[in-house]
Symmetry: C2
Subunit: 337 residues, 2 copies
Amino acid sequence: MSVTARDVARVAGVSISTVSRALAKPDEVAPATRARVLDTARGMGYLPNPAARGLITGRTSTIGLIVPDLENPFFAAVTKGVQSRARAAGYCVIVADSDEDPSQEEDLARTMSKRVDGIVLCSPRAPDSVIAQLALECRLVLVNRACGDIPAVAINNLMGISQAMGHLLALGHRKIAYVGGPATSWSNTARLASLQVVAAEHPNLDLVDLGSFQPYVSGGIAAADLVIVSEATAVVAYNDLVAFGLLDRLRHRGFRVPDDISVVGIDNIPMSELTFPSLTSVGIPLVNCGRAGVDLLLGFVRDPSTPPTHHHDLSFRLVVRESTGPVRASPALHATA
Amino acid sequence: MSVTARDVARVAGVSISTVSRALAKPDEVAPATRARVLDTARGMGYLPNPAARGLITGRTSTIGLIVPDLENPFFAAVTKGVQSRARAAGYCVIVADSDEDPSQEEDLARTMSKRVDGIVLCSPRAPDSVIAQLALECRLVLVNRACGDIPAVAINNLMGISQAMGHLLALGHRKIAYVGGPATSWSNTARLASLQVVAAEHPNLDLVDLGSFQPYVSGGIAAADLVIVSEATAVVAYNDLVAFGLLDRLRHRGFRVPDDISVVGIDNIPMSELTFPSLTSVGIPLVNCGRAGVDLLLGFVRDPSTPPTHHHDLSFRLVVRESTGPVRASPALHATA
DNA sequence: CGAACTACTGAAAAGGTTTGCATACTGTCG
DNA sequence: CGACAGTATGCAAACCTTTTCAGTAGTTCG
């Protein structure tokens, strides 16, 4: 069926060990022999059997990635970063989608734990206790979540949020609403906390927390009417998708953005450039987050003595587009209702 | 380190073989023994080593998926479908992103071929000869591409295109442009061919092929000015992203959609509901395509005697939104330039 | 009561690679 | 010229599971 090291050894006239060494330890074998073995192997299309290798070395050259939703552009970007960096390092990536279900994260991690050298867990929804337990069972790196001493690529939400709030304050906004994401989401907690930090620094700023919504367009649509009632002149959304929902519903309710209400998203996904009006958003280097996660994990895999590192990726940038503008002299119109 | 079958056997007071059988062949072991082994295994947190199992069975319980671009919503949807179906069947998924580079597809397939039981190759850009060669080396299923006798989930482009063209014809459009995707793309070829079939059936319809563009928003932006010059009253884009680019550039050039030009996309990605104007698009059941691909592959893996099947997923639907409207009595205005 | 079955269980081989250890050989230095 | 250092290669064990084959004990039937 498949060509094995034994076949190559026979053809090249050497032992199996020499074949193995010729491929893995170039300097432990005579140059002439090495060349002959390599040629033979290439000629026969020999590829080492990863299962056999993994059985003895205990390494799989594969890493796992668990994300809540592959169709969410946020996670698609992280996945892309993870995938490209892993490939460059000679690793395959087993991807799993938890469908935003915390209990699935645990199952998925256990299922893949034996097939991978480590797992990148992105934005897990599960409680700290579960994550901590998982970290005992397998090599784990977190992205967009902090939990005890587990190595993590953390997004410094405060920095991005500060920029966004500074922008809105400069435009004269004093009553600003926040449309939150899932209550169990670490980034939602972090973002809300960041907003409150900023609010505490500006006594005349009124921050209105509108509660938790689905992190999808539908969540924004659901929240839009609350925004209107709150009489806030600007709204920060949990992410761009939610902001899109807000834009859509506000338009259908007859409110103009940014004339009546300014809208700010977070993530700066590619699509935010193309809505009407285009969306002001806080950009996060998502692909880099994925890359950083892999780097952290592989450093850990290669040298288990490496102390757990926390990596904070700081390169935010607020991208101002059409959805934010100066506050109106008079309060927002109640165009309808 | 890790708990093996030997450990479980020792604790449960049975042989390794019995442990193996208790887990895999429930009826070949006495109920009492079975219960004892299972309890012990669970208690000790035993999980069979996939490498050792794979080494002897030759199966990995893992499938591969290769897509051109994970960040493209089209492929994100397919990936989601593949992932969920595979998981339900007890398989892991190794995902790889070829970055739209045909030569990488080949490398990726070879790299993962030994680690998976089969590969789902989605919208490959590589030439038929390469695909055919790959199919000889590993179990292969195609999605959104046809190539010889290789099992494939094919999208019947003609059906969707016909619906879209029927819609435009009904609105009075007689000069319709097509903004194509990559020349090497099978679906681009299929879509263009479908358009020509429809055009052949309507002698008074003037089809203008504007050539190949990047399958991204940037491609649409690049093509928009050609659309204007062509004096077509409607344009069909290779996919929704390209259509978004068209909407954006047309607006900036001062053209109104659909008053001056109607725009139709293909794929009906979630975002097409949220652009302004929202996009009329031909929907493809992408998640189902992914699922169907896995079904095809697993049927094949489980029973290699299964004759290669071609699966055509037909459930298209044209979703009409705001970007298409009746043709103007007078030719499109030349708002600028 | 013995023989033939059945139903379970255990021993052992196989699967393909890596790697520690032993061996054979080449060349060098005393 | 002999011994030794060093290098290149082969042998064999180990990794952990599955699966075939054989064996044991218990049961049933003649």
